[in-house]
């Protein structure tokens, strides 16, 4: 008899809480039109990258290069979780929604950091995600908010309560599948790609009906028999071909095209046994958002043997009548393509590259002989973590610059035969730092998409896993491995302000406003920090 009473009490107190926060309707629904026109409501942060183009740019300018020196911490939310805290929170009309390690989630009063509801998924004890029990955030649509889980479920929560609205299993997690990315809401669909490139999975991108959880389409990133691209796999290697899709794609509403990047072929360090280009691994896919049908594809690294996933956020850029898509790739090249046809326009190194010295007829970098892994280990730049990785870049339409955290680190790559065993890690050997490697470091680099040239850089003592936010206040925000959250002048890269959070930044910053006051927020260590002017 106790439970129903408690439930009523909770509902009552929540209603009271909501009405007490503000007179306005804090739970107005986010529909597709609001997502398309997100730039009209810069006080909110409605998608993982801030807009469908993937720019992670805020038009708010209350905090700007002239006053950022006085930026101060406003509140800190402690998740109590250990491990890398990779979330990009969403902010909708004064409520901040975030996820944390182990698939926990929270809704906070964005002015104070005080929670409205908390969610914790009860995960099976045998989930085995590679690279941390992380989650990168939500998608929001209607009265629901959506996350992918480490046991490969898609879960819809009620935005007002955090209660589960629906919960569907995408695939059997015991075979090495998991979700770590923030989904993308398009029209009535929730779109997300699978993780598990370390386990010999067969990758895919899924779309679910936001209302019911029914799966509407699936695009396998490794083509099956009879499908175009299947011939790029030797024998049965396609069955364990990997090509996960573990980072959120971009979307162009004017053409209804999704742009979704994919990761490494499996096993990552061994090309023997999977001769061929291994489509669609390390590829940018242009998919029809309604059907998942492939429009075009561009493969960055063919027949990859260095774990150079292309799972970096692509950004749609419109430059002098040209409709471009740009990606700073893990293989060390900054690619700019015509996004209407997938034609490569330029590929320029933005860090040290030793694996390629020439381009083919289409301008694609060609691998040199001798860059493949060897039994003892072959030194190659960039290393396995790449010149950049999943951390979000940003494009600032005011400066016209593409900002990305780069890593200068080379690794020795070894290879060895390894039998596939379902659910077990499947790398085909290892990578490791070489005693002969040059010292590693990191740098935030500002790239010009028109030329591929580096305009400025801000050096980090060690490589950073932080994403980047640019704002109309002529600012670029980023974090570092040493725990600093930093504001730089967007035009020059000069450091204007920093705050020591006490934990490495493994997330990307956002900006939002409540009651006319601009805030900047970032996850660092195991806490979410929010800053504003005094």
């Amino acid at each position: 008899m106790i439970r129903p009473r408690c439930k009523m009490l909770c509902c009552k107190s929540l209603l009271f809480l909501v009405s007490a926060i503000s007179a306005r309707d804090v739970f107005a629904q986010v529909n597709f039109a609001r997502l398309v026109n997100s730039s009209r409501e810069p006080q909110n942060w409605l998608t993982y990258s801030g807009d469908y183009a993937g720019r992670r740019f805020s038009t708010l300018d209350q905090i700007n290069a002239a006053n950022v020196h006085s930026l101060a911490a406003k509140w800190v939310y402690q998740t109590g979780a250990t491990g890398k805290f990779e979330t990009t929170p969403l902010v909708v009309d004064g409520i901040l929604y975030g996820t944390a390690p182990d698939d926990r989630a929270f809704a906070l009063d964005a002015r104070t950091g005080r929670p409205l509801w908390l969610y914790q998924r009860q995960l099976p004890s045998d989930v085995r995600p590679c690279c941390g029990r992380v989650n990168r955030g939500f998608a929001i649509l209607g009265n629901k908010i959506f996350l992918g889980t480490l046991d490969a479920h898609v879960v819809a929560l009620d935005t007002k309560t955090g209660n589960v609205a629906w919960d569907v299993a995408a695939v059997d997690y015991t075979q090495g599948y998991s979700f770590t990315l923030a989904p993308l809401a398009v029209k009535n669909l929730i779109i997300l790609g699978i993780s598990g490139g370390e386990y010999g999975i067969r990758g895919f991108i899924d779309a679910y009906d936001a209302e019911t959880g029914q799966r509407k389409w699936r695009f396998y990133t490794v083509p099956g028999p009879g499908e175009p691209g299947h011939e790029t796999w030797q024998g049965d290697s396609w069955k364990t071909g990997g090509a996960p899709a573990w980072i959120t794609g971009a979307y162009d509403p004017s053409t209804n095209q999704l742009f979704w990047p994919t990761g490494n072929p499996s096993p990552s360090n061994r090309g023997e046994g999977r001769a061929g280009d291994n489509l669609y691994s390390n590829t940018l896919l242009a998919l029809d958002a309604d059907t998942g049908n492939l429009s075009w594809h561009f493969q960055f690294t063919r027949h990859d043997e260095h774990d150079w996933d292309a799972t970096e956020i692509p950004i749609l850029i419109d430059l002098r009548e040209k409709h471009l898509i740009a990606q700073a790739n893990r293989n060390g090249f900054f690619y700019v393509l015509d996004r209407t046809r997938g034609k490569l326009l330029s590929a320029t190194p933005f860090g040290k590259v030793t694996w390629s010295e020439s381009k083919d007829g289409e301008g694609r970098p060609v691998a040199i002989k001798g860059s493949s892994p060897t039994p003892e280990g072959q030194l190659v730049c960039p290393g396995a973590a790449g010149t950049t990785n999943w951390m979000s870049p940003s494009f600032d339409p005011q400066t016209g610059l593409f900002y990305v955290n780069a890593r200068e680190q080379c690794d020795a790559f070894s290879t060895a035969p390894q039998p596939y065993e379902a659910g077990h890690a499947y790398y085909g050997s290892a990578y490791f730092p070489s005693a002969d490697s040059e010292p590693y470091y990191g740098a935030l680099r500002a790239l010009d998409p028109a030329t591929g040239q580096i305009k400025w850089e801000f050096r980090h003592p060690s490589p950073s896993w932080s994403g980047v936010l640019s704002t109309a206040g002529n600012l670029v925000f980023t974090g570092d491995a040493e725990g600093n959250f930093i504001a730089l002048d967007a035009a020059s890269g000069k450091a204007l302000w920093h705050f020591q959070t006490g934990g490495s930044v493994h997330s990307a910053p956002i900006s939002f406003a409540v009651d006319g006051k601009q805030y900047v927020a970032v996850a660092a260590g195991s806490a979410l920090y929010t800053f504003g002017l005094p």
Partner: protein
């Protein structure tokens, strides 16, 4: 009913449940021997697991890398029994760069896979010949003519400028120690390892000139983009803000002199290494 074990109304059911739990945990605790001991297939599977999860620090053949100790030696720093090794791999070593097997490096490992790695390490374990050298003479050199103790502490005695070497015998391969003495700038020693940071701080050399013209040269205790903590040869610690310095320069040339064979003979170096290796044996 309140859940209180001191309640006199302990049901028979609960008692049976308690006994069952005790029986099961005793069974687990008894597994201090590798269930895969001597199984060549498990050893091979362990090699795959080792390459994926361990080789990044411990090297391809477990012979030690830049960060991790040589694991082919019979004596392991954190325990040599199967159960000790299982625990070290599964739980990690707090306060060191050795993580628990939760996928921060490599992937999450099952108990079965951890035992396979233990089986692999037994396969590659070498019956190391007794390390040649006179450890007593090595100790005399360490605190005497070679003057290692001017900068390095062992068991609380010695200098603080360089890394404490009390544990180095268990933590580093012999080749690594020899290389560090002959060519200290080749691979800089690693210092402070912070919980959420990917890489430990290295013993880089800093030369800074303060706004009032004071020149400071020392080793880096820690550094970020805006500040640096430095110890000079006199063991003075300086907490410096980079933007307040007149100049700041960092090099990867170690402050430690390179001990060439003329400065320190191969025989004497062998004796010093024997001394350092003997420390962990206590």
């Amino acid at each position: 009913m309140p859940r209180n074990f001191s309640s006199p109304f302990v049901s028979t059911f609960r008692l049976v449940a308690l006994l069952l739990v005790l029986a099961v945990s005793t069974g687990l605790a008894a597994q201090d021997v590798n269930p895969f001991a001597g199984d060549p297939k498990a050893g091979k599977a362990g090699e795959f697991q080792f390459r994926i999860n361990c080789a990044f620090c411990h090297g391809l053949g477990a012979r030690g890398g830049g960060r991790g100790p040589d694991l082919t030696r019979a004596r392991k720093r954190h325990g040599t029994s199967d159960a000790d090794m299982f625990h070290t791999i599964k739980e990690g070593v707090p306060g060191t760069a050795m993580p628990a097997a939760v996928g921060s490096i490599g992937v999450v490992m099952t108990n079965e896979e951890v035992w396979q790695v233990v089986a692999y390490l037994r396969n590659v374990q070498v019956r190391a010949p007794e390390q040649p050298g006179n450890s007593q003479h090595g100790k005399e050199l360490f605190y005497g003519d070679a003057n290692c103790s001017g900068c390095h502490m062992v068991e609380g005695k010695g200098g603080r400028l360089g890394p404490d070497l009390t544990e180095v015998g268990g933590a580093r391969a012999v080749d690594y120690i020899v290389d560090s003495v002959r060519y200290p700038s080749h691979r800089l020693a690693q210092g402070l390892s912070e919980a959420t940071k990917e890489f430990p701080q290295e013993y880089e050399t800093v030369t800074a000139v303060t706004s009032d013209g004071k020149k400071i040269t020392g080793v880096t205790l820690n550094e970020d983009s805006f500040s640096v903590q430095v110890m000079d040869a006199g063991e003075h610690i300086y907490l410096l803000e980079k933007d307040k310095l007149r100049s700041f320069k960092k090099t990867r040339v170690s402050l430690m002199p390179a001990y060439s064979a003329t400065l320190l003979s191969d025989k004497d170096l062998q004796d010093i290494v024997a001394y350092l290796l003997s420390l962990g044996a206590k």
